[in-house]
Amino acid sequence: MTMKRRTFIKAGAAITAASLAPAIVRAEEKVWRVGGSLPMTGPFATAGQLVAPALTDFTMMVNDAGGIGGKPMKIEVEDSGYVPKNALANFERALASGPLHGYFGDSTGFMELVGPSLTGDKAVMMMSTSFASSLADPAKRPYQFMAGPSYQDQVEILLKDISAKGGKTVALVYSDSEFGRDPIPHARNIAKQLGIKIVLEEVTKTAGADIESHVTKLAQANPEYAILQGYVTGVWPQLIGAARAFGLSTQFMGTFWGMEKVVADRVTEQAGPFLDGYQGVMPYRYFYDQKDAPYYQEVNAWKKAQNADFPGYIVTWALEAYINLLIWKKSMEITIEADKPITADNLMASMRSIRNWDTGGFFGSPVSLAEHKIGQGRVYKYSAETKLFTPVSDWITT
């Protein structure tokens, strides 16, 4: 039998790391197991299918580098169809199949549903795709965290940017969903503190909104800025397109799920360059901005080594999965280093102890996770010509 160079390096790294690992690691399971639910079917299948490869790639990268504390990790993903009780069944099945060291949830609904039951034997360190403000609550949700700013933080960042640029009037346009309404009361308070007048609050359907009617109301209110919240692929491009056709000069701004380059590029290709100048808050650097992001460079090199045709871009939704898993990995390493058992309580305590951590370029400055979230982000602007989002503000913290 011949051993390939890569296999030899992998085996060597694993053996070395295992021999150096504290006793607690050697005493436990053979693999660090992370479960996950993603919407591979259903209304958000596009997002799920773009995020899924990130979980596999992260696992392979970690294992190629010798695993965590000398042990490999494994991620087992299941389809949820974006139905919270399906994700709950996936979680229970993962729990019943053996020790579970982390879990990746697919929605706010699932995190809200499973949250109260994460006690005793069911307690698992849990990350997700959600930025719902209610999840960043160490007292009420001791085992859940988010790898970025909550929706409240994101809207606060936008309002601070508007204030810094001398903006005086804003409209809040949001979908009639928990996702859409989440930051609105907070936005009202912050706007008041910053002296910004909310001239319109417009609620739309999550899909199939009456665009003409909403744009007419926007035209009547004529705000300098309009913050759009609670949309992923639909409604927000149509609103902006109709507003531009109407001749409105309002500056539109979005939050994380409305800031994906792939969506903006597709809209530009299919409907014209009206998204030019669209701005919004993004917690992470875009993947093409790799100059000050050593981790992005590492991922890029690894992806190129796996696939020479890798186009050099990873969607922001997948970046969220990477940083979630990086935080989990960091918590694992801290716990192992302290020679403590890998329990949800110890992992969360380790995570809360993270201070001034350099994430390798996801964020502009070192981060802390004491509050189960990372309250920073930057405002980006889209160019229809270059098809890139470029920063128009410094990193803003909340």
């Binding site: 591979m40 899924a52 919270p84 229970e92």
Partner: protein, 350 residues
């Protein structure tokens, strides 16, 4: 070999457990039902609990659709009414006895059933199905409103209480299962017996020919509304159990999709038979889970592989339902009947 049943009284004709096979089947089913948690893990208990709750609700839908012949696509909303009533009641009165909650949830859902059943006095068939659709939209709209949020949690949903019986908090999946299972047995037996009464026969008469039933002296208005109320009460009770079973309830749990699933379970199992809802629910809720487990075996949980398998899984599920409806349009209960006829006539059966 059983060649026939010799009966000398009407009561004998109406008896349910009229042969040894049925009696022993009942005993085995009850033993299996109550012994299940001894062998099941939390995941299996989660699935089993959901299935039993759905079975209660589908049994309720069967009262209306299968026995009275009135179509409804709004029963998910009555399910929601029951679930939210239970949470509101518990938040108002701490440690409320679960049977009181169940009765309350069933009662409030029955009132909503009466209200949304009113169109049945004027329309039937597909028209009634469309009219009952409104229940989903109106009730969920009310639940989601900000002014209702202190009671319902609004769009964000609300955490649910654990049932407490004489100081014992039913927190584990096993304990919750043991709350659901007896309620399930009682509700199914009630439905079975309902159609041995004058009231039940009146509903069947309405289903078979409402004009003839009216000529026979059956008040269509009263009986149709009562059927709606009973049917909604079943869903309300199921909703109350749902709120005990899950740590939180969300408005999207009770969307139109749930109403459709309830009807699909009934059609797949067989309408107008007590066992139909049980078989149908088992089929419709279990197949996706089984397919998911099979796909998990093939993908090993790998995200890249899952991208392809997830779509295939949905296609397989859809095909199974289509094939099932083509080859067994009378529902699973008809296979059950054929099987027992085969057993009864063996060795002369074909």
């Amino acid at each position: 070999m059983i060649t026939g049943h010799y009966k000398t009284a009407y009561a004998a004709d109406e008896s349910i457990w009229n042969n040894w096979a049925k009696k022993s089947g009942l005993v085995i089913a009850l033993i299996g039902l109550f012994a299940f948690p001894l062998f099941a893990n939390n995941y299996l208990l989660l699935i089993a609990g959901q299935i039993l709750i759905y079975m209660i609700a589908v049994t309720g839908v069967n009262v209306l659709v299968g026995y009275t012949g009135l179509m409804s696509l709004g029963h998910g909303a009555f399910f929601a009414v029951g679930a939210y009533t239970a949470v509101i009641a518990h938040n108002a009165v701490e440690n409320l006895f679960p049977l009181i909650t169940l009765a309350l949830s069933a009662g409030v859902a029955a009132l909503f059933g009466l209200l949304f059943g009113l169109p049945s006095l004027r329309v039937k068939g597909l028209y009634l199905a469309v009219a009952t659709l409104s229940a989903n939209f109106i009730i969920l709209f009310l639940i989601r409103q900000d002014w209702a949020a202190p009671w319902t949690g609004g769009r964000q949903g609300i955490e649910t209480p654990n049932a407490v019986i004489f100081g014992w908090e039913l927190a584990s999946n096993t304990a919750k299962y043991y709350l659901i299972a007896p309620v399930f047995v009682v509700f199914v037996l009630f439905a079975q017996n309902l159609f041995r009464t004058r009231f039940g026969r009146a509903l069947i008469a309405i289903r078979d020919n409402d004009h003839s039933a009216e000529i026979l002296g059956i008040s269509l208005y009263a009986y149709k509304l009562k059927s709606f109320a009973i049917s909604a009460a079943y869903c309300g009770a199921a909703g109350a159990l749902w709120s005990y079973f899950f740590p939180a309830i969300l408005p999207e749990d009770f969307s139109l999709n749930m109403s459709i699933t309830l009807v699909v379970c009934l059609i797949a199992g067989g309408m107008g038979r007590t066992l139909g809802p049980l078989f149908g629910t088992l089929l419709i809720l279990l197949i996706p889970e089984i397919l998911k487990i099979i796909s998990g075996v093939f993908t090993g949980g790998d995200g890249n592989a899952l991208i392809h398998f997830s779509s295939i899984r949905d296609i397989v599920f859809g095909l199974l339902i289509i094939l099932f409806l083509i080859f067994e349009p009378m529902g699973l209960v008809s296979i059950w009947d054929r099987f027992w006829r085969f057993v009864a006539r063996w060795p002369f059966s074909k």
